[in-house]
């Protein structure tokens, strides 16, 4: 399957348009929901941390530190990816699956178009911009945490920012984006596979979307565990 996907496209001009369309559908179209969730979950992480700091000896800058670590290491790359498996993954499976059911994929093949390349390659290229989404998620998650912490009266702005800067390990950013790239590949290929090779009618398109979401989520969780073990353990 992957060999066919990465074959030379029939026409680069047509492929370029498809890639722009996929960037619009998969990346730009996801920014709203990602921004909303990231901002509020970042806020909740900050409040939860603050509410659990009952010992007066523990400094309040820990709120900023905990928010940064939670958002950068796990929330933005992993949990946003699970949400994207539901949003983008279901969209990919159902759109390709519908094309299968309505013989549009057969039509491409009969014309001599490599349908796997035509349908899947632009999605993979578009999702190379996925780290951009996660970068925004990280920023908004921390911003939400700062606003909830400061305006909720749990910490001061200086303390929160001090916490953000405390014990900062630049490799954690690299780790988060390495994970993100692997998840992007999973988000593009697993739903495409379930859509492309589905059989049946409209009901099966719905089932394929569900199965695709489950397998993409499971793969992301497992990949997350393996990558964390490989990249962070000493």
């Amino acid at each position: 399957m992957l060999k066919e996907v990465f074959n030379k496209p029939l026409k680069w001009s047509a492929m370029k348009n498809l890639i722009f369309k996929e960037v619009d559908d998969l990346i730009i179209g996801s920014l709203g929901i990602v921004a909303f969730i990231s901002f509020f979950v970042g806020g909740v992480v900050s409040i939860q941390t603050a509410l659990n700091l009952t010992n007066p000896l523990i400094p309040r800058n820990l709120i900023g530190f905990a928010t940064r670590q939670s958002v950068i290491l796990e929330f933005a790359p992993t949990f946003i990816s699970i949400i994207m498996a539901g949003k983008v993954g279901s969209f990919i499976t159902s759109s390709i699956g519908t094309m299968r059911v309505t013989e549009q994929i057969d039509a491409l093949e009969v014309m001599g178009v490599n349908s796997l390349n035509y349908l899947v390659f632009p999605k993979i290229i578009a999702l190379l911009l996925y780290p951009f989404v996660i970068g925004i998620s990280m920023f908004l998650g921390i911003l939400g945490g700062w606003m909830a912490g400061v305006y909720g009266g749990f910490t001061s702005s200086d303390e929160f920012i001090q916490g953000l800067q405390m014990d900062f390990i630049p490799f954690h950013i690299a780790y988060a984006f390495i994970k993100t790239m692997i998840f992007a590949l999973l988000l593009a290929t697993i739903p495409s596979y379930h859509g492309y090779f589905m059989k049946g009618g409209a009901l099966e398109v719905g089932k394929a979307s569900t199965v695709s979401f489950v397998w993409t989520s499971v793969s992301i969780i497992l990949a997350n565990y393996i990558l964390t073990q490989l990249l962070l353990s000493k």
């Binding site: 309505t102 549009q104 057969d106 093949e109 009969v110």
Partner: protein, 257 residues
């Protein structure tokens, strides 16, 4: 001309096509008829290269499909137009984008040339006001016309139609049938139509092959249908009361009653 020799195709333990040999002639509408499950669609998909035959050869004007290189197969596919049962128009594209798609993908024509050709074929299929509409915004009959326009836009040598009348009212079905026949003669192409609509058969069928349980049970012209004693085709065609009456009337006319 498309010549098939001893085509066999199985799916698991089920043998769907059992040694079919025939010739589909150029400039004629060739119809494959038969009951549901007789192997019509599998034969059509085998001709199109969607299924590969287990044995036998398919030859397109002397070019044996299985002997062609990948590039030659791709080249051959650009000479094929296909009208799918459900039209198979691309949902995300407008009517004119659908029709212009093969030109955009396979030719070096400029956007202006593509637009001119698209306008011409849409006019040819009597569709003038739907250029900017999406497939979901037009009727089933119009979708079929768009599918025909897309199939002929790149001037194919071979036109395949899978149940072109399914889901259409009788009047629109006749319009579509006649359009396919006119295009076949006008472009001198080899047209193969998969159908179980006897009205289509009698309207446009110049060569008819009848499949029964994966075997070519009968072949001939539409005139031959009224004369044949082949039990399989008689049983299939005259399952309709209308055709029983026509046969009775014809036999009476020829004094055979």
């Amino acid at each position: 001309m498309i010549e098939i020799k001893n085509i066999e195709k199985s799916f698991g333990d089920t043998k769907v096509l059992k040694g079919i040999s025939t010739v589909f002639e150029t400039g004629k509408t060739n119809l494959i008829i038969g009951q549901s499950g007789s192997g019509k669609t599998v034969l059509l998909k085998t001709l199109l290269g969607i299924h590969y035959p287990d044995t036998g050869t398919i030859s397109f004007d002397g070019r044996i499909y299985s002997d062609l290189t990948a590039d030659e197969k791709r080249e051959l596919r650009t000479e094929i137009g296909m009208v799918f049962q459900g039209s198979a128009l691309f949902d995300s594209m407008t009517v004119e984008e659908n029709v212009g798609f093969p030109l955009k993908m396979f030719t070096k024509q400029t956007p202006k040339e593509i637009q001119e050709r698209v306008d011409f074929v849409l006019k040819r299929v009597n569709l003038v006001d739907a250029h900017k509409k999406k497939p979901s915004e037009i009727s089933g009959g119009m979708q079929k016309r768009v599918a025909i326009a897309r199939a002929i836009v790149n001037k194919p040598k071979y036109l395949f139609c899978d149940e072109p009348n399914s889901g259409l009212d009788p009047k629109t079905a006749i319009v579509i049938d006649n359009l396919i026949k006119e295009i076949t003669e006008e472009y001198d192409i080899t047209t193969v139509i998969n159908s179980h609509d006897m009205n289509s058969v009698m309207e446009i069928g110049e060569k008819i092959i009848f499949l029964k349980e994966g075997i070519l049970a009968w072949e001939g012209t539409k005139k031959d249908i009224f004369k044949t004693d082949n039990e399989a085709i008689v049983d299939f065609v005259y399952s309709s009361n209308l055709f029983k009456k026509i046969r009775k009337a014809q036999n009476k006319e020829h004094g055979n009653d």
